[in-house]
Symmetry: none
């Protein structure tokens, strides 16, 4: 791909409708997409080549990271991002090379030091923020420890300094009635990391001892920010990410996109897209509301979120990007109340897309599309080809 890609003025929009795919409502027999009134998506489907996208592999339910990495053209099984890094990305924390990030939980330990609540009664974000301030900015053996609240009982701990390693065990035993575990090195060069983590945990135990229920923390997913070849290098694109949610901004940074400042609403995202249209030739636009509604099991709200997106779609198309790819990172059917393994509808529009007979953007209709069933990792190469940004392979 890197050898074939070439910079050209044509522009690509990758519109990711988070958790797009759904399942039929038990009463109507129609999925969220089939229930929603989406005349603009349907009209675009009519001019596009459609199909079904498989995020990772048959039967596999992806998290947000693999789901998005696949859409960005990265093999989601090879390109793993650790739990700690993901949590840090989720609060817009700017990880530096060499940093090791971990996901933390405030928890409750009893008089014997055994865990009796892994989430400290889901302590409020306000309390959590105060307790994080107690723990923040410690230093052990020259390693700085940065502690940031996430939401409720969740926090991020970042270890910064030289000689660290992600190859250590978790302190979180992930069960009740056990004591927090000692962090142990899993590689020869991970001794410093384990020692510092244990010293910090000892410090935290003391600092928090009078703050029950949040009288201890558990750490898991020690990880370093991976060093992927950027999309700019692979595709020779000037890439921009437009996403209200920190996690998706973080993922975009990992693959080298410019993350554009934007507001919390879909309209804010569209305004950001319009304001920056001339400056970039690739736009990742992320729509979160669909997934959030699906996770809440709220079929109607997911339908509304799809209809709201449909209303702003003409504004995206009005600037005449050469290629528009619309899909989701995974399915989030309201009836499942979470991510699922189901394939996701996808359409690719361009002047050269070879349209099929699909004229409704839905799970059932896209099954008949010209793309057939494709891995999500095919979407970027197809978008690149449709933008006439790929040279010929072989003579």
């Amino acid at each position: 791909m890197k050898e074939l890609s070439q910079a050209t003025p044509s522009k690509i929009v990758l519109l990711v409708i988070d958790g797009l795919g759904g399942l039929p409502h038990p009463e109507s027999g129609q999925t969220e997409l089939e229930t929603a009134h989406t005349p603009n998506l349907d009209e675009l489907a009519g001019k596009s080549i459609c199909g079904m996208s498989s995020p990772v592999a048959a039967g596999i339910t992806p998290g947000s990271a693999p789901g998005h990495l696949a859409l960005f053209g990265y093999n989601p099984v090879d390109c793993l991002i650790g739990r700690g890094v993901l949590e840090a990305l989720g609060i817009d924390f700017d990880l530096r090379p060499g940093d090791v990030a971990t996901r933390g939980n405030f928890c409750t330990v009893d008089a014997q030091g055994l865990i009796c609540d892994r989430r400290a009664g889901r302590v409020s974000s306000t309390v959590s923020a105060k307790l994080c301030a107690l723990l923040d900015r410690q230093e052990f053996e020259g390693i700085q420890v940065i502690v940031k609240p996430v939401k409720d009982h969740r926090l991020v701990v970042v270890f910064r300094g030289s000689g660290l390693s992600e190859k250590v065990t978790d302190s979180d035993p992930q069960k009740l009635g056990a004591a927090p575990k000692e962090v142990k090195p899993l590689a020869e060069d991970a001794g410093l990391m384990a020692r510092v983590a244990n010293q910090f945990l000892q410090f935290a135990a003391n600092a928090l001892k009078d703050h029950a229920p949040a009288n201890m923390i558990l750490l898991r997913g020690f990880s370093e920010k991976p060093c992927f070849t950027t999309m700019n290098e692979i595709y020779k694109l000037k890439t921009a990410a437009i996403a209200s949610y920190p996690m998706y901004r973080g993922l975009s940074k990992v693959v080298g996109m410019d993350v554009l400042p934007t507001g919390p609403t879909l309209n804010d995202e569209i305004a950001t897209y319009k304001a920056n249209f001339e400056k970039y030739d690739f736009f990742f636009i992320h729509v979160k509301a669909t997934d959030a509604a699906g996770e809440d099991g709220d079929f109607e709200r997911k339908v509304k979120a799809l209809e709201e997106l449909d209303k702003v779609l003409p504004e995206i198309l009005a600037l005449k990007p050469d290629v528009v790819a619309v899909s989701g990172d995974h399915s989030t059917p309201a009836v499942i109340e979470g991510h699922s393994w189901h394939e996701v509808p996808v359409l690719i529009y361009s002047k050269y897309c070879r349209p099929d007979k699909v004229c409704r953007f839905s799970e059932t209709d896209c099954l008949q599309g010209g793309l057939g069933h494709i891995p999500a990792t095919d979407i970027m190469p197809l978008a690149m080809a449709n933008a006439l940004k790929l040279g010929k392979f072989g003579a």
Copy 2:
């Protein structure tokens, strides 16, 4: 495949309609194939299993070599053929083992020796042939240098002798304002090759100095003929190639086919097929006119080329080959005026093919076919199976 294949009397025809796939005409919304009146192809499709073939991978536009190698069952990414070898095959030059071939351009250099026209004003084939004769049959350090004209400014330079290597850099800097580059070895055993190439280039500079605009040559794509396992070995077939164009004859030779002498027209090819039907059990028949029309952006001429092919199809079927596979090496939509990444319709006819409901051989109809979307490399195994030439795998 090699372990399962077995020689039987059944006969396979692989009919390759070069650049077969197309895109809708902006006015009619119909592709070239959909526009063409092809009753015979359609009737055959009705008795066949149909589908869409992907030459290399999603979004990848193949050159003729990878497109054909995939149809012959070779992984086109692993089985690369160098630029120089392809150019030599294209003029029916009989490369021997150990020969290193390069693609050459006549170019113009200024008084400082800097390139001011990479194609020497696209010097005519007549002039080019005369200048090639000036350069032909030199010898340096025991290596013979053979120089043959191709077309316009293009030539082939073949180095022949022992101890050569393809692992050297190009002399062509592929930009204006630069001097031709010295050829450098990329491996320890490539020193002789680099020295001889540089001596030849020095000789060429002197020989051509008064022949502006063609006062220098540029060489690129030093390559040796690859040594693939032949189709005869893999499939235990007696294979024959019937192709008017030298490049396809050359590719057929690389995979071990007998290249049958034939004339320039489709009727010549059919006559050759008939005359040799008893002698072989596999026929690759190549149709060039479709691709040529597509490359020229001539929608109507591509439609006519398809209709002409359709008219002779009954003659191919009349000899009752057991299996007929029809596809293309890639798409060449007239609206793109070149090869493209789009999938290519494919049909496989045999007594045992399990026909689907497709009764029109077109991009839209074949989408609904029983084969679904297949890599082009699946066509040969399917043809072999339909010819009952493959044993059972496992007990």
